[in-house]
């Protein structure tokens, strides 16, 4: 049941939906650079659950940081980051 569901979601490339911005997982190097650059710890970032449909789609694991390139009305393109966390439900 669960498996079929995820496969269907894989077919339906949700990243293509007009509401969903572009998500990329930061590599280890990028992650360190990013944290160094902004002088923050990962837990200060907004979160994304690892059960989130997009997180499942791009196969993000808890602890990784996801880079999100949003389409913004004010800046055309805005970059945001979210920390993947395990959901406690």
């Amino acid at each position: 049941m669960v498996k079929t569901k995820t496969i269907e979601k894989k077919q339906l490339d949700i990243l293509q939906h007009k509401l969903v911005p572009f998500h990329v997982i930061l590599s280890e190097k990028e992650r360190n650079e990013f944290l160094e650059n902004y002088k923050i710890t990962p837990d200060q970032l907004p979160k994304i659950l690892h059960t989130d449909p997009v997180a499942i789609y791009i196969d993000a694991q808890p602890g990784q940081i996801v880079k999100i390139i949003r389409k913004s009305h004010t800046a055309k393109e805005a970059v945001a980051y979210r920390l993947v966390v395990e959901s406690n439900e």
Partner: protein, 486 residues
């Protein structure tokens, strides 16, 4: 770095798609076989999996994915399977598509001048289009950039600015105008949609189901231009109950029920009487026989009470359609073609329907968007819905305030409500609670539990008599002693 990666990914994907396009025709039959096989494979695993918690489920899925890749040895084929059903995907992440060489040149020049400093893309694009128009400006590029950098810096929100309060006031003040004028409904065609203040409260409250759920269902190319095809899709989506397509007659003397479908509506809805029969047969404890144009239902162990029970279930029996979609309106929009508007919403199911454009279809049920498309989509939806309800009333609230609200609501990965107690589920400090209601009991309870207060908020700091951690109160002067130590 990241941008390069994304580009690579995009390239890879397009490659895969190309391969698939070639293969699809030849492999269609094979795919079907594979599909059926898969389903049969999965079915035995269903029962044990059902009881596992969502965490374990996801772990399992992930493990399976990995295992699949290992076992098949042909990851490419695997990928094909996954992508197979994608139809004419719109372009990937909106990279600035094909710039003129002149623009490119200016952009690279600007990037050199910027040297790591940040200006938003919108401003850069503006500068580029202006500069490319006028030759004179090109030599002054350095000045332009430094000026716009200074201006951008000047207009940015200061550190420790109480932007939340500013946002709350900026939305709240025009909100008072709304109360007086709206508490009634209006909407697309005949569908009622909650508007005005009630809707705004609904959005901010993060209700699990909006009071008037609604969907805008867009169709794919062939379907949106052909009214018959559009109707067919609509039939697939709109819920059809047995009651509305057939007469149900109970014969009390023989304890039998006759279902007599109306042939015209059946034809209209594209359902055959056989299908109806099959669906009725699934009800437990009865037997259905199809005569020419009626269905005779007899009970396994006849009793008067059972007969009435079956009669009730028959009335509400779903023959076709998707749960939750009550009513459908098809409209012919200029430029777009046929668009389906639905009363009631079920995003997960509707996206799977053939003919529906799964990349543009939306619902006003924000929680459903969060469930199916992720937290970022929900964030976008909150912004869009709040902005639409406000601007529909002729109120101009700066989008940044609304963006802040939706950022806060989605900050922890789930959609949380903002009410008069602040953001829900957030641990509130003892002192601020005590300052609000029943002071003594709050303090007593806190003392008994040995709670600590971090003195983060406004009320707490005022109680203990120290500067609030906001604005000028948030900074301290630090003397720089020597350059070496920093």
């Amino acid at each position: 770095m990241a941008k390069k990666q994304t580009k690579k990914q995009v390239k890879n994907k397009t490659k895969i798609k190309k391969i698939i396009l070639k293969d699809t025709t030849a492999k269609k039959t094979v795919k079907k076989e594979k599909k059926t096989k898969k389903q049969t494979k999965i079915s035995p695993k269903k029962s044990p999996q059902k009881k596992t918690s969502p965490k374990e489920k996801i772990e399992k899925i992930r493990k399976k994915k990995k295992a699949e890749v290992k076992t098949t040895k042909k990851p490419k084929q695997k990928e094909k399977k996954l992508v197979v059903k994608r139809e004419t995907p719109p372009p990937k992440h909106p990279k600035p598509i094909e710039e003129s060489p002149e623009h490119k040149k200016i952009r690279s020049e600007i990037n050199k001048i910027l040297d790591g400093r940040f200006l938003p893309l919108a401003i850069l694009d503006d500068i580029i289009s202006k500069v490319s128009e006028e030759q004179k400006l090109q030599s002054k590029l350095k000045v332009i950039i430094s000026k716009s950098l200074a201006e951008y810096d000047k207009n940015a929100v200061d550190p420790s600015e109480a932007c939340g309060i500013v946002g709350a006031q900026s939305i709240g003040e025009p909100g008072t105008q709304m109360t007086m004028r709206t508490f009634h409904y209006a909407g697309v065609a005949e569908i009622n949609v909650t508007l005005g203040l009630p809707r705004l409260i609904e959005i901010v409250d993060a209700r699990s189901i909006p009071s008037t759920p609604m969907m805008n269902i867009y169709l794919r190319d062939e379907f949106r231009l052909n009214s018959d095809l559009a109707k067919e899709v609509a039939n697939q989506i709109e819920i059809t109950r047995l009651n509305s397509i057939a007469d149900i007659e109970t014969d009390l003397t023989n304890l039998v029920i006759y279902v007599k479908p109306n042939m015209k509506t059946l034809k209209n809805k594209n359902i055959s009487i056989k299908e109806v029969g099959e669906i009725i047969k699934k009800i437990r404890g009865i037997d259905a026989k199809i005569d020419k144009d009626s269905i005779k239902i007899s009970l396994d162990d006849p009793s008067y009470k059972k007969l009435l029970d079956v009669n009730e279930t028959l009335k509400d029996l779903k023959v076709k359609g998707i749960d939750g979609i009550k009513r459908i309106i098809i409209r012919n929009e200029p430029k777009e073609g046929y668009v389906i508007y639905s009363e009631g919403s079920n995003l997960e199911k509707v996206l799977q329907v053939e003919g529906v454009d799964p990349y543009r279809t939306t619902t006003n049920d924000i929680q459903a968007v969060g469930r199916t498309l992720g937290i970022e989509a929900a964030r976008n939806m909150i912004i869009q819905e709040a902005h639409n309800t406000l601007s529909e009333q002729g109120l101009n609230v700066d989008l940044r305030h609304i963006m802040l609200v939706s950022d806060v609501m989605t900050a922890d990965g789930t959609i949380r409500a903002i009410g008069r107690h602040g953001v829900s589920k957030e641990k509130e400090s003892v002192l601020s609670r005590a300052a609000f209601e029943i002071t003594v009991s709050h303090l007593l309870q806190a003392a008994r539990r040995g709670e600590t207060d971090k003195l983060g908020g406004v009320a707490e700091n005022i109680i203990v008599g120290q500067p609030v951690n906001l604005g000028t109160g948030a900074v301290e002067l630090v003397m720089k002693r020597s350059k070496k130590k920093e």
